[in-house]
Amino acid sequence: MLLGTNGQRAAEIRPHLEHPVSRGQLCVKGWNAAQCLRDPARLTTPLLRRGALLEPCSWDEAFGAAAAALRAARADGGPDAVGLISSARATNEDNFAAMKFARTVLATNNIDHCARVCHAPSVAGLQRTLGSGAMTSSIADIDRADCVLVWGADTTESHPIIGARILSAKRRGARLIVVDPRRTRLATFADLHLQLRLGADIPLANAMVGLILEHGWEDARYLAERCENLAALRNSLDGFDLAAAEARTGVPAAHILQAARWYATTTRASLIYGLGVTQHVCGTENVIALSNLALVTGHIGIEGAGINPLRGQNNVQGACDMGALPNVFSGYQAVTDVAARTKFEHAWGVGLPDTPGLTTLAMQRAAHDGTLRCMLIMGEDPVITDPAQTHVTRALADLDCLIVADMFLTDTAQRADIVLPVASWAEKDGTFTSTERRVQRIRRALQPPGAARPDWAILEALAQRLGRSMGFRSAQQIFDEMTALTPLYAGMTYTRLDRDGLQWPCVDETDPGTAVLHREQFACGKARLIPVTDTPPAELPDAAFPLQLTTFRLHQQYGSGSMTRRAPLLERENPRGLLWIHPADAATHGIDDGCEVVVRSRRGEVKTRSHVSTEVPRGVVAMPYHFREAPPNLVTNDALDPLSRMPELKVCAVALERCR
């Protein structure tokens, strides 16, 4: 994407014809990306709470207050009394600075970011099975697939450029199988739509694996040479019952069989999945179930195939890669690994904490318990995006001091004691890592408004104020320090990234990067098949809460909408919050299209408007989560996946009532 400027104004967005992924195309969010940059509501000065009001102050005052708060919290409760949330929208350089800041300046591993609520289960699951938690193929690789299996991903809306590529594969003759409880646009194009019940992913995947092994459709040679633990997987599926799978998943047995046959017997079959798989109490095991499916069929490590989690934010892959996570340094080097920790200690000249820190939701709970006293949140809006909103707001209120760095005064920033204005993507240099592991440059086109600064510069200044400079003077210098410590990125330089970027791993300066992972062997040597068993959603419908609520995203909006909702054309497209409901359920509840309704769960209630549609099945209602006027996170469940600490955002039990 190209940004045209007119003086100090963003004047226009232009598509990038030669880009290997977008090829001259943009989605509607791309076309409207410039409009938030000079929104009159941009934060241009630091703000300091004085009583009930947030009042403008100087950087000097803001840093003074922030340093004092961090010192006080540490003096009171030790280094782990503070926590840092980094941002998947910020650059790799910002995230590397954040993880260094947490570990060296604050001396804590309490650092996390929003991957916790999107693909933490992918990182945890694929790390266990393959040794690397990222898309194993490339986006362009979809052009070479003969079968595309899309599981819990609404790609035409959430990843339109990828969705367009999948539809183009379908037009070319590739078979398209869509697994989704909702009849998405992609599902209407599919050769086969498996409309499974919410939270029935494991029984469906297991049934497919069972059928594949039963019919001998597995890739025996691949299994023998490249995978381990087949016997255990076979044993776990011994005596599996297709009729039971049909009853449990709601998918006709014949469709399960057809999908298993098409996927297994096509050599170039790509498995693409999204948050429909991960945002469950069994998110990591869901990922492992899909990994088993891809492994028994030999679909990883070759062109036109792979297992491909689609990351949602511009740099959520990069934020993970940079180690903005409580358990790893950059490049997934564990904080508990003595060799890795020693390397970082040596490079940074300081001892580092050796036990994994708190995740986002654990920080919120610790805040509520009083053990976490001060939080620094960079460019995230957990009040809108995290589950069980009332718990989040209470936790933030329990902090001694909340520091928020953002472009706008978000719902989270409004609750802060200190607010720091940050530069947007157009106002700084750096790199983003896309979902296909492609590291790409962004270049500063505009001055930040007013006193706003890049995240990394704010962190460096704050570090100096705390007497522990990180020594950062430019984005490029941070990148160079990062590559020296991160084998996945070791061969990258700004010069090499200049044109099309590079896909990691890129281990030295002659390495052209890696389009397809695990070609010869897996990152962990042999891939691990791990039996997983059905785990139903933490909360099932009952008499009091008879419907299931799921969440999804709209084509026109991004995250909490703090950027996209400032674009007038995007804001015009949708009413502020909607509840999709099947006509039969609408009739039962006396609800017409466009009615005001209240959605209640055990955790809270939210008012919104009905949209009667057969896109959702009976018994399921669905809400997009972009709208602060009607946030589904007032009712969603914060039950956690024990392996990744991912909350179950995709399913909870609700009751519905028409407002009179």
Binding site: L2, R14, L17, E18, P568
Partner: protein, 342 residues
């Protein structure tokens, strides 16, 4: 043919560019790592790129930018922000874009923001002597050789000479500045020119479906409704790419961007493929399904209901929408489907 001048060599074109650059800010299409784009040329000693591809972003943004401030206010003071750009020259416009500018000139004839920019512009065309990848200008009477709408128009002949057609007094003036002699074409040059045009036309693959499809859209008995548009609906992502890259699309929306007592009234490019474009305040929508909006878009491009007013169909065959469309329903694909149907 209008008045002409003949340059003995391509190299002489630099004298013309230098003369233009003395009076105008010079813009040319340059290839770079992100494709090809209009760029300000400060140094005319860089050679002109005769083979530069058609840029994905057309010339309309020079006259009708994506974001255009209309009025500014602060306290009680209100001022109209009429643009006053220094004179500028677009050197190297292809015939499709010249046709599109002519089309928009009519649409925006009384729009001061457009007109103030447009009247400061010098348009220099360069005829396409061979087909581009996705263009079908010849099927919609928009090229590959320009007929009108230019101040100057250049044709590079195979023998290395360049024919310069002079369309206006402005064009004449810069030719005079560059000491170009105005002559009638001699018979041999004329024949060379006609042959170049014939060769250019012949280099385009024939797309008879285009005229068939346009005829269907304008069938006397059924008009636009004679086509089944439902199949196109699900393919539309409502990305707005088609209308944004379309050189004849002119719809905009007006919003106020204000804080406290100061602000700007701004217009942005809009798109009829967006659901909110036609939705009325009551919630009623005259084009409620995506297929209805797709139909409406192509109706406005190809129906005779509009050619009477604007002199030509609203599509100049540049092929940009086929590149930008996420759902593969750009002009060539849609016309292909329509021209094959029925």
């Amino acid at each position: 043919m209008t008045q002409t001048s003949v340059l003995e060599a391509r190299a002489r074109i630099d004298a013309l560019r230098a003369a233009i650059a003395r009076r105008y800010r010079l813009f040319e299409v340059r290839r770079h790592t992100a494709g090809a784009d209009w760029q300000r040329i400060d140094d005319v000693s860089e050679p002109f790129d005769w083979d530069a591809p058609l840029p994905l972003s057309g010339a309309k943004r020079f006259f009708f930018p994506q974001r255009d401030a209309l009025v500014r206010w602060e306290g009680g003071r209100v001022e109209e922000t009429l643009p006053a750009p220094p004179p500028f020259a677009l050197f190297g416009l292809r015939s499709c874009d010249l046709e599109a500018i002519g089309y928009q000139d009519q649409f925006f004839a009384t729009d001061p923001y457009y007109v103030r920019r447009r009247e400061r512009a010098l348009l220099v065309g360069v005829n396409c002597t061979r087909a581009c990848a996705g263009g079908f200008c010849r099927e919609v009477d928009a090229g590959p050789f320009a007929r009108q709408g230019f101040d100057l128009n250049l044709t590079s002949l195979p023998d290395g000479r360049v024919v310069v057609e002079i369309g206006t007094r402005l064009g004449h003036a810069v030719c005079a500045d560059a000491d170009l002699t105005v002559t009638e074409l001699d018979a041999a040059t004329r024949a060379g020119f006609d042959q170049a045009r014939a060769d250019a036309i012949a280099s385009f693959p024939a797309r008879p479906f285009v005229r068939r499809a346009i005829a269907r859209i304008n069938a006397a008995d059924t008009g636009i409704n004679g086509v089944d548009w439902t199949a196109f609906g699900p393919s539309c992502f409502a990305c707005s790419g088609c209308s944004n890259v379309c050189p004849t699309c002119s719809c905009f929306t007006v919003v106020d961007e204000a804080r406290d007592n100061a602000g700007e009234r701004v217009r942005y490019w809009d798109s009829c493929l967006l659901e909110g474009f036609q939705r009325e305040a009551s919630g009623y929508h005259p084009a409620p399904r995506p297929a209805d909006r797709v139909r409406r878009f192509w109706y406005h491009k190809f129906s005779d209901d509009f050619t009477a007013e604007l002199g030509r169909v609203g599509c100049v065959g540049c092929g940009r929408c086929d590149t930008a469309c996420l759902g593969a329903i750009g002009a060539e694909r849609v016309l292909g489907a329509l021209g094959a149907q029925g």
